[in-house]
């Protein structure tokens, strides 16, 4: 009657727990995880297709020597359309997601230098 429930609950106390110990142990994500972007300087031609495709208009093309994209991670919804449309595969998504949190919304606007990893 209700005894099947009790038996199941008691059996479950002896199985290991499945909690992720979040701040101490970082969560494992898959290889294709859509995290923050990374730009490859040699492949980007500054065409602007990524800026035109973005549904939230989070990408703007600015000058840094040549023309490069600047991404506002406050508006980005990590959909991955910009990565799909890039003709040269210059824009890719890494597994990094903890940097997209900040108390200051202007610190989330990543210029081309930050996207290329040349500056912090």
């Amino acid at each position: 009657m209700v005894l099947k429930n009790f038996e199941e609950m008691i059996k479950n106390t002896f199985r290991p727990s499945v909690t992720r110990l979040c701040p101490e142990v970082p969560t494992e994500v898959s290889d294709r995880y859509r995290g923050m972007h990374k730009l490859d300087r040699d492949k980007c031609i500054g065409c602007g297709i990524c800026a035109g495709t973005c549904p939230t208009r989070a990408i703007r093309i600015v000058r840094y020597g040549r023309w490069f994209p600047m991404i506002d991670f406050g508006h980005c919804m990590f959909c991955g359309l910009c990565v799909d449309q890039c003709p040269n595969d210059a824009l890719t998504m890494t597994k990094e997601y903890t940097e997209a949190i900040s108390p200051d919304r202007y610190a989330l606007i990543y210029g081309p230098a930050q996207l290329m990893g040349e500056e912090d």
Binding site: M1, V18, S30, R32, Y33, P55, M77, G80, L81, D84
Partner: protein
């Protein structure tokens, strides 16, 4: 095209006839009655809606439903975005079943464009649909269990759902809003080693579903709360326009995958799960049976898949196909969402943005089916019935 002046005249007529709520018949109270608002903000609701209950003692005499607290204007937003930009927006109509929403949108646009995805893409889309169905049913049944007071069941189902979400994340890269199918194919192929992992996870879920069915059906306190409560008859469901597990639990075997088969569903052998009586108990059983059936479908699809291209030959750029001008016309392709029949009626006028997108969401009908069921039940049955219908408020109010 509708005449603007006719519309305005009709709206003025409706405004003149509208009776303010406290004077409506349903709101007049006797000495023994009380009005209870299970209101827009309530700890148990998945989203904001309002049910006004007229109760006398502990029995519900009358009820009235108000929706629309979460209206976001998605259909209007889709009119100002190109077809490819609209795809992440359709993810967010109902975040639990986001692959089915994507599928409905992409199928309709493919019919307008008159292209057909190759066979491997179709199998991958079938696998993603069924995985999305498994995780949505697990979460929906878990939420229903909390509304009965059975919190442990919720935690068990969430634990299994994490494995399924891990499988989905391996392919698409995200856990809930996937944005995965593309016009003519899918974004990426299955990764290496995914097939063995999937077969392990699916066999574990099959075993756990057997355990859930036993826990639910052998527990006498649970049966007291759910058998013969919230019964829907066949006439009620057809009148309300319900589809999905709520319809199939009454005995009518209408499943969009069998009636309007798209993709490769005709090649896969599966049974439509029905039950004989449309009460709460059977609705939940139909859902758990559907989880097991979906595991079987995925295994067949993995066996039948052959290597091949992901996009058809007339789209040489594959997933890089830019925004296209879609030929004018209209299309409606229904898809079996975990909650019922989901479709998008897209009208295009030849430009690169749609003219009108009307979303036929199954959750709206599920909410509409609530007030007829709430006649002469106890207050404690109301959340159990509402949660067993498994409607998603953000899809109702899109």
């Amino acid at each position: 095209m509708v005449n603007k002046h006719d519309v305005k005249k009709r709206m003025r007529q409706l405004a003149a006839e509208y009776i303010h709520e406290p004077q409506q018949e349903a709101y007049k109270l006797d000495d023994t009655e009380m009005m209870l608002h299970i209101g827009p903000q309530n700890p148990i609701q998945p989203g904001p809606f309002l049910i006004d209950l007229k109760i006398s003692g502990e029995t519900v005499r009358d009820s009235k439903l108000y929706m629309g607290y979460g209206h976001k204007g998605i259909e209007k937003i889709l009119e100002s975005m190109t077809y490819i930009q609209g795809l992440p927006v359709t993810d967010r109509i109902c975040y639990l079943a986001s692959l089915s929403n994507n599928e409905a949108y992409v199928s309709s646009v493919e019919r307008l464009l008159d292209i057909e995805p190759p066979e491997r893409s179709q199998y991958i889309r079938v696998i993603m649909q069924e995985l999305s169905r498994i995780q949505s049913h697990l979460l929906g049944t878990g939420e229903y269990a909390t509304d009965l007071g059975f919190v442990t069941m919720f935690l068990f189902m969430i634990r299994e759902r994490e494995y399924v979400l891990g499988l989905i994340e391996d392919i698409t890269g995200a856990r809930i809003t996937h944005c995965f199918p593309r016009f003519g194919g899918v974004r990426e192929d299955l990764p290496d080693g995914w097939r063995e992992k999937a077969i392990d996870v699916l066999s574990m879920i099959n075993e756990k579903c057997e355990m859930y069915k036993e826990l639910f059906s052998s527990d006498r306190t649970y049966r007291m709360r759910t058998v013969d409560i919230g019964t829907l008859t066949k006439e009620d469901v057809i009148k309300a326009g319900l589809t999905g597990p709520a319809l199939r639990a009454t005995g009518i075997d209408y499943d969009v995958r069998k009636v309007y088969p798209t993709l490769t569903y005709p090649d896969i052998d599966f049974k439509v799960q029905t039950a004989k009586k449309g009460d709460i108990f059977n609705r939940v059983m139909v859902r758990i049976n559907e989880i097991q059936e979906s595991c079987w479908i995925i295994e067949q699809a993995l066996d039948q898949m052959k290597p091949g291209p992901l996009f058809p030959d007339e789209l040489p750029y594959g997933r890089r196909t830019p925004s296209m001008r879609v030929p004018p016309g209209e299309a409606y392709v229904p898809v079996e969402d975990p909650r019922g029949e989901m479709a998008m009626y897209i009208v295009s006028d030849g430009t690169d943005k749609p003219y009108r997108v009307k979303i036929r969401g199954p959750a709206f009908a599920l909410m509409q089916g609530l007030p007829p069921m709430l006649e002469n039940v106890y207050i404690a049955d109301v959340p159990a019935i509402a949660a067993s219908m498994d409607s998603c408020n953000s899809e109702v109010d899109r």
